[in-house]
Point group: C2
Chain length 364, copies 2
Amino acid sequence: MLNIKKPALLLNRDICKRNIRAMAAKAKAQNVIFRPHFKTHQSAAIGNWFREAGVIAITVSSVSMAHYFASHGWKEITIAFPANHLEIDEINQLASKINLNLLIESEETATFFKDMLTKECGFFIKIDTGYHRTGIAASNVPLINKVLQASKSPKLRFEGFLTHSGNAYHAHDKQELIAIQQHASENLLRLKEHFHPQYPDIILSVGDTPSCSQLPIAPGINEIRPGNFVFFDVMQFALGSCRLEDIAVALVCPVAAMHPDRQEAIIYGGAVHLSKEQTLLPPDPKPIYGLAISWDGKNWDTANLLGKVSSLSQEHGILSLTQQGCNLKPGNLVAVLPVHSCLTGNLMRKYLTLDGEIIETMNT
Amino acid sequence: MLNIKKPALLLNRDICKRNIRAMAAKAKAQNVIFRPHFKTHQSAAIGNWFREAGVIAITVSSVSMAHYFASHGWKEITIAFPANHLEIDEINQLASKINLNLLIESEETATFFKDMLTKECGFFIKIDTGYHRTGIAASNVPLINKVLQASKSPKLRFEGFLTHSGNAYHAHDKQELIAIQQHASENLLRLKEHFHPQYPDIILSVGDTPSCSQLPIAPGINEIRPGNFVFFDVMQFALGSCRLEDIAVALVCPVAAMHPDRQEAIIYGGAVHLSKEQTLLPPDPKPIYGLAISWDGKNWDTANLLGKVSSLSQEHGILSLTQQGCNLKPGNLVAVLPVHSCLTGNLMRKYLTLDGEIIETMNT
């Protein structure tokens, strides 16, 4: 029995390792490089579980995160964020120790790093294949040519094209997800073909968990970089990427007050624990912030739904209770499956395994 | 000039101290107890600025936060969250050192603490005056009587009735805000009158920043507990509680990429820095996550709007740029006024003053 008194982020190690093994096996079976994104867990210890599954190359979202994982022995790191000019010193330090890949998407950035790098780095050109967050439009070959021109230097080694189909998170059904994946891979393949004469060995890298979980890897893709699948969460469940039983983390929270007249409970567990990320879970038309299920002191039980987190303030969560949930009392504990495990993990900064081990992160 | 390379939460000490002095002066002028909520800043150093303004009693939102501030010399603390049964040991430790007030809103909780407290505590009964998050409905005198009955013990000293008009955050205009405040204070005053024969000295405590900033304190109210006003933020600006020039914190972020074709920039500054709290800023019909203004290395300038944060992912923010903002380049810095300074402060865990001092918090 774990002695939990205030919100704690529990981690089921078996589920987590199963998720890692499944994605590693899929990449191996389809013969693509598996370069998982470590921004979800941010933990050296969990990183070691990936090593057990044969992973040697990783993705991170910041220079700080690259430094943390480099200090824990990772030698192949892509920073999947437009390279930050202001951290040139930290990037040079990293590049002197590991095989580092940057993301470049403008002439200015290419020129800056060509001039300022003291060690060789790889780089990907970030391609926008429909998400429209960042990257060069796949059709904009003139700009890609300019970036390649501006980056010509022994310090910058062109690795290939990289995209993140974040629009996969807005797919309404599997057909739409397939269409998004197909659109992205066709665009990347067209670029690869176009640049083949000058760059015959470049790789095509894709990233999102919904596509990587639900679909076969698209033909011609060389590398996948999913991250969230390590824990999954209610958003991925809503998207059809996982079952509730595949979610590896849950925030265990004390019940603080009951309001049976409106079938609500107040839990000690709010925006500073779960984050304010919300998702829709049809047919419910209202967004939710988590799903509360039972917790017996040793395990959570996805078959025993107690309520939906319908509202969050800084430390309070409101549960909209099921019939079962109405039996709760102040001082009981519930487990909340988070909507976005990356943000919940980042806020909680450490994990507690079901056998009571504390797993630290770069933020602990 | 501050040397900022990655997202940093800047604090303008002068604005912050001015906000503190103004609220302290208002409380003094209206002869009410000023018991500010420290969940916004969570910092012992900023707590000292309140001491300079004469504050001796404070409000916090968790037992952990009460321990932190007690260890920094605060002797009068109300934990404005339904008392957590599971932290009884930590509550007893606190009650042996300071004057601690708890919140009780059920017979079960009253009975539990009557039985389990080893030291005397004060308690408030949490009253719901229209927010419907938690608390006993002001009309439910029978339940209030039961709680008072169940708490009869030398260990539990009834201090009064406490409400948080969180519904003030949904007021569409000042008239509506006045109506919310009036409804809350009338309900509390009716209770005070009802219980006057048995409890002649109880106090009435109210809390929210919109009412405390915008309106005179309602007649008969004895204590105010606003928190957010110490920093203010874009949400309070949208509600009319402050000017942009009264916002004391800004997240300084590097520009990572420009997309002039769609008048957008990508900043290094995302949900793990700002939080995913959003607000409406009419007449714009779309919610925003922050306002980007210029930063010259020494100060931010609210008169120079560069863009709105229209979307956030884990580390990326998308700026929807003004004409002025379209001149930005990768490697520039912008200052983002946060939508909800409490959540941004909690995520960033420390502040950097304009003169380069690092101000720690309980989470640093």
